[in-house]
Assembly symmetry: C2
Homo-oligomer: 223 residues x 2
């Protein structure tokens, strides 16, 4: 059985877990707080970041959320999520990188620092200027998602793909931390409402990070 | 013919160009200075980053250096660089992410900011504390490369892979900017000396960024 090292609000782990859910791959969760920089974990993964997957029976170690997704995409036929022509696949990977890097840098990362790490690790108050900046970026990112979904059914085209999983992973963490203002973002809201009902995603929305409550509408597909 | 938007010292473009060289894919260079944030370029790629590849005849647009590499890996059989079993391929992708993200964040990125952007764009002096920090990180990264190459012929295993191309791309830019102290890094130095002789890589080492000279040994495979 695969072991998946993660913490509840890790957006990169959420992308991987949704993919594993779509593909019906079983795993057990191992709690890892990357900010503890636990020696055994850093020895396993020198970046010190979650997620990491280990299959002890076959001595397999998978590191880096995109490398993990590509691995399961190559080894499990069910629910192909990097699909279509080579050009379609390039567009899916571009958007995964967009959400993993730009959305995380502008929105999810600052929210996690200010509203999670500062609360549960440092027990200090968040930097309100940085939070305001993240909220402003969040609106710009939702505008871009609205633009994409204005001429596409899913993020990267006509079918669901890893780009949608990556987007929902980042958005769900930002939403949990009160960083998403859904007002006016019609396409993004409709897309995310539908995504919330997926069997692969619902279990993640039911989980709570101890000491931090999400907004009341957080789990509701009809919000 | 593919058009490749780039600037001489872009490490992500160097990874792509070395792959295209290995695969004998032709392209023409288009100079793009990402720090200018040229409107037409940002319209094409919202991250504003190089490299971007365009095939005007087939209206194909490829964005994000890893998505570009995966595209050519899927469409050109020659010189497979994400090769081996699914586990090998995961290790290659982990290391590409390591060099693209960690090495860039710790070493190449700060060196480009301090020794290139400040010189040719802002015309200010570099921050010496930040440069010292980058040099310290550079040594730690070379130690890690020595560790990898102590039990492997190439970065990710027995054969050359995209991990080597990603590493050489970052290292060559850091080396151009005087950020690599080769003293004592026996394995890394032997590996890079051999890599410098590759037909796909030599042309990159011959290029110069106007106004910035590399160290005298920079192009020499026997340094």
């Amino acid at each position: 059985m695969w072991q998946l090292y993660q913490f509840t609000l890790c957006p990169f782990t959420r992308k991987v877990r949704t993919l594993l859910g779509e593909k019906d791959v079983g795993y057990e969760l191992v709690k890892e707080m990357p900010w503890d920089r636990r020696d055994e974990f850093v020895d396993m993964n020198p970046t010190g970041q979650t997620p990491v997957m280990v299959d002890p029976e076959r001595s397999t170690l998978l590191i880096d959320s995109m490398a993990i997704c590509e691995y399961f995409e190559e080894t499990i036929d069910k629910a192909a999520m990097i699909n279509g022509t080579a050009t379609n696949r390039a567009e899916i990977r571009r958007l995964v990188a967009w959400f993993d890097t730009q959305f995380y840098r502008d929105v999810t990362g600052p929210l996690l620092d200010e509203r999670m790490v500062k609360r549960i690790v440092h027990r200090t108050t968040p930097n309100s200027a940085r939070l305001r900046e993240a909220m402003k970026s969040s609106i710009a990112h939702l505008d871009y998602i609205d633009f994409l979904l204005d001429h596409r059914k899913w993020m990267a085209g006509a079918t669901i793909s890893l780009a949608d999983l990556a987007a929902a992973a980042q958005i769900s963490v930002a939403d949990y931390l009160g960083g998403i203002d859904w007002t006016g973002h019609t396409h993004a809201k409709a897309w995310y409402g539908a995504f919330k009902s997926r069997r692969s995603f619902r279990p993640l929305l039911a989980e709570r990070m101890s000491g931090i409550e999400p907004p009341s509408y957080y789990e509701n597909p009809d919000f």
